[in-house]
């Protein structure tokens, strides 16, 4: 029944009007982020050319409106244009020589071992051992490897408070007035970048090892599957290693070496083939999943010392198939935001507060499970669904943060466009070697842009009239058609010598390299290192003259490289951090940064020291779009309600501009310029 307002009693009518006025005023108080002076929406991987195209197609009305109100420019990214590098520059205003992040992967030259560039886990103190129990005398921890002060720390020094939601390369989060939650660079519970689990009764269908995940054999007996979640090692327990026991058997009276056993959490799956559903029981929780249904977050516990120390985690289950094959996917074990075992927020209880408002959420590195899709554990459509779960969590978080505007500055990060552009490019690009015709997913990337346009529309409604709104990305995107096995190229050019050339394709981490005769090697996605005496474990190139001459030679050779299949030049830029960057960290990165030209990227195998036979290979992976190339190919975006005064703004300029919005002069050492016109 429709209410007829005209028939309301006048007094009643005035009372209703007053009530409406109060409600609206109240709603404005609650719903507006008017208190925030500056709001930044960080959209990882949003590309200016695609944005322009979708705006012109009328698919992004809110971006169009913001461009009309203010301005739009491509935003120069860093070299290399990798997210950890670019976001570090955005937040510190420094180039990689200042913040020390040159790649996703760095190399420890004393061990010739690659490691995650963003954070490192540090061992605890020497333990006290009692039988099979082991008690560390002091706690270990994690250390952020990025150097430099972030702009929100600088704001904090002036008494300004910031909310920083999932800024990459901020794990553990730096201390500053306000609140922050870590993002890319945050490990999962086992300390990896994200390791999913996959349970199947057809283990033989899958390779022995799969990148980014573990596959476990299970057996269904009487429609019941018993399985375990495999957690981190229990540092409170220890058992003799097999090697120690073998030595003992050989008659060596050794003092034993010990390993920490992995903690596990049992779960049971009861299958109902008729209903095409299953009941999962884990701890005291029960849930029912239909085939191809995702669970909500499920709490998991790993008991380090029963009744004393329990490590909390959270996972989502996806019942992929019940029969004829049983297939169950489980997300990487999350650091539980409700009870985090590692510092993911600042203040420490903020993740718990968010959790009480929003429910549990993905906390690790990059939630969108590209590795599961790449390896066929999730199909493209399943990956899309999983990506949407992560997106909806971010969307709810943005809404919550806008409704609780307690700070002066707000940054919110979305990673959906980045991961979608990596994984869906081959559906929209007919020239891609891995092109797949899919009438729905060919529109996947435009759809993701539209979704972010919706977020922007919501944001514009919620912020105050005087708030400076900045929408930016760390880099753009390009197709990834062809792989370059850079280590194989170095081998062919004589810069690398193998111990056993007949075993070129076996082993990783440079295990077959004869370091005494090797001059240079490639590691990470854009890095090339000289095997330098006094720095590398078995350096072979002398410092100064020999080193400089080798760099000159390599630079020339890289730029002259040709792909004989199409006569293209795969490398269009060579930078030397020691020559081209500023700051105290510039000597700690690679000796050369390789900028690949349009369509090229470093191969899948080369970054971790493998040597496939061919130098150039077509990329048939679902990971079909990329940005780890010549930075000039892949600028990010800058859209704002202010005028942009520079024709070519860069990420480091934005840092300075943010400080200037608050009237703070940038400290010395920052390379950027203020590029936003003050609000009139």
């Amino acid at each position: 029944m429709r209410a007829d307002r005209s028939r309301l009693h006048p007094v009643k009518s005035r009372a209703v009007a007053l009530l409406w006025t109060l409600c609206l005023a109240c709603a404005t108080c609650n719903l507006s982020a008017a208190a925030q002076k500056v709001v930044v929406l960080g959209i990882d991987g949003m590309d200016p050319k695609l944005l322009q195209k979708f705006v012109e197609q009328g698919r992004m009305p809110n971006f169009k409106a913001l461009m009309a109100e203010g301005d739009f420019r491509p935003l120069q990214t860093t070299m290399p244009p990798q997210s950890p590098v670019a976001w570090s520059t955005f937040m510190t205003g420094l180039d990689p020589g200042g913040h020390g992040i040159f790649d996703f992967i760095h190399v420890d030259p004393t061990k010739m071992a690659p490691y995650n560039s963003m954070a490192v886990a540090e061992a605890g103190g020497r333990p006290v051992n009692v039988g099979s129990w082991s008690f560390p005398t002091s706690g270990g921890g994690v250390r952020l490897l990025r150097k430099g002060k972030t702009f929100w720390q600088m704001l904090g020094e002036r008494g300004l408070r910031s909310t920083i939601f999932r800024m990459p390369v901020n794990f553990p989060p730096v201390k500053a007035p306000g609140r922050s939650l870590s993002g890319m660079g945050t490990p999962d519970l086992i300390g990896s970048q994200g390791t999913f689990s996959f349970y199947t009764d057809h283990r033989k269908d899958w390779p022995a090892q799969i990148s980014g995940g573990e596959i476990y054999e299970v057996t269904a007996i009487s429609n019941r599957v018993n399985a375990q979640l495999h957690g981190p090692p229990n540092t409170f327990r220890r058992f003799p290693t097999k090697e120690s026991l073998d030595l003992l058997e050989k008659g060596r009276a050794v003092s034993l070496d010990y390993d920490n056993p992995k903690m596990t959490q049992d779960f049971v799956v009861y299958l109902d083939p008729k209903a095409r559903a299953a009941k999962l029981m884990i701890g005291d929780q029960e849930l029912v999943l239909k085939e191809q249904e995702w669970s909500d977050w499920v709490h998991a516990e790993f008991k380090a010392i029963p009744h004393v120390i329990t490590i909390s985690s959270a996972v989502r289950f996806y019942l992929r198939q019940l029969s004829p094959k049983f297939e169950l996917y489980v997300t990487p074990l999350q650091i539980d935001p409700e009870d985090p075992v590692m510092p993911i927020s600042q203040p420490a209880n903020w993740s718990k507060e968010l959790c009480s408002e929003l429910g549990r959420f993905y906390t690790h590195n990059i939630p969108e499970d590209a590795q599961a899709f790449k390896n066929g554990v999730l199909s493209a459509r399943e990956f899309w669904d999983q990506m949407m779960l992560a997106y909806e969590e971010r969307s709810r978080a943005l809404d919550y943060l806008l409704k609780h505007p307690a700070e002066d500055f707000l940054f919110v990060y979305f990673g959906t466009v980045d991961q979608g552009s990596h994984m869906l490019w081959h559906f929209m690009d007919r020239e891609h070697p891995g092109f797949v015709q899919d009438d729905v997913l060919q529109d996947g990337i435009p759809r993701l842009y539209e979704m972010l346009d919706g977020q922007l529309g919501h944001l514009r409604k919620m912020i105050g009239r005087d708030t400076a709104l900045i929408v930016m990305s760390d880099h753009g995107f390009a197709p990834f058609y062809w792989e370059v096995n850079l280590n194989t190229w170095l081998l062919e050019q004589g810069y690398i010598v193998l111990k056993d050339p007949s075993k070129q394709e076996s082993g990783e981490f440079f295990s077959n390299v004869d370091w005494s005769r090797t001059k240079a090697y490639a590691a990470g996605l854009n890095g090339l290192y000289v095997n330098l005496k006094g720095r590398e474990k078995a350096g072979a190139v002398a410092a100064r003259q020999e080193y400089e001459a080798l760099l000159d030679q390599l630079e020339k050779a890289l730029l002259a490289m040709k792909d004989p299949r199409n006569n293209r030049s795969p490398v269009s830029l060579v930078l030397r951090p020691r020559r081209d960057f500023k700051g105290p960290e510039k000597d700690k990165g690679p000796d050369i940064l390789v900028g690949y030209s349009h369509g090229y990227r470093c191969s899948w195998e080369s970054p971790l020291g493998e040597f496939p036979k061919a130098v150039f290979v077509d990329n048939h992976s679902a990971w079909s779009g990329d940005h780890c190339m010549d930075y000039r190919q892949v600028p990010g975006i800058l859209v704002t309600n202010r005028r942009i005064t520079s024709p070519a703004p860069a990420l480091a300029d934005l840092t300075v501009s943010l400080l200037q919005e608050f009237g703070i002069a940038p400290p010395s050492g920052l390379t950027g310029q203020d590029i936003l016109e003050p609000k009139k």
């Binding site: 071992a113 990896s192 990487p332 590795q371």
Partner: protein, 63 residues
């Protein structure tokens, strides 16, 4: 090939010699190498290749 040498106190060397025999090691070198590797491991928190692989390979950019 060049092999690094380490000077040891004579009394310590004699002890090493005695205990390496008692402990069943084939030489003093084997015993010293094993003892030092164990000691260093505690400081390095040495990761196996499998551990390095697992930690890095969740990253979608590599195989």
């Amino acid at each position: 090939m060049f092999e690094p040498k380490v000077k040891l106190d004579k009394a310590l060397y004699e002890k090493l010699k005695m205990y390496s025999t008692i402990a069943g090691y084939s030489s003093v070198e084997e015993f010293v190498q094993h003892a030092l590797e164990k000691e260093i491991k505690q400081f390095e928190g040495a990761e196996s290749e499998d551990e390095i692989r697992q930690k890095l390979k969740g990253l979608g950019y590599i195989s």
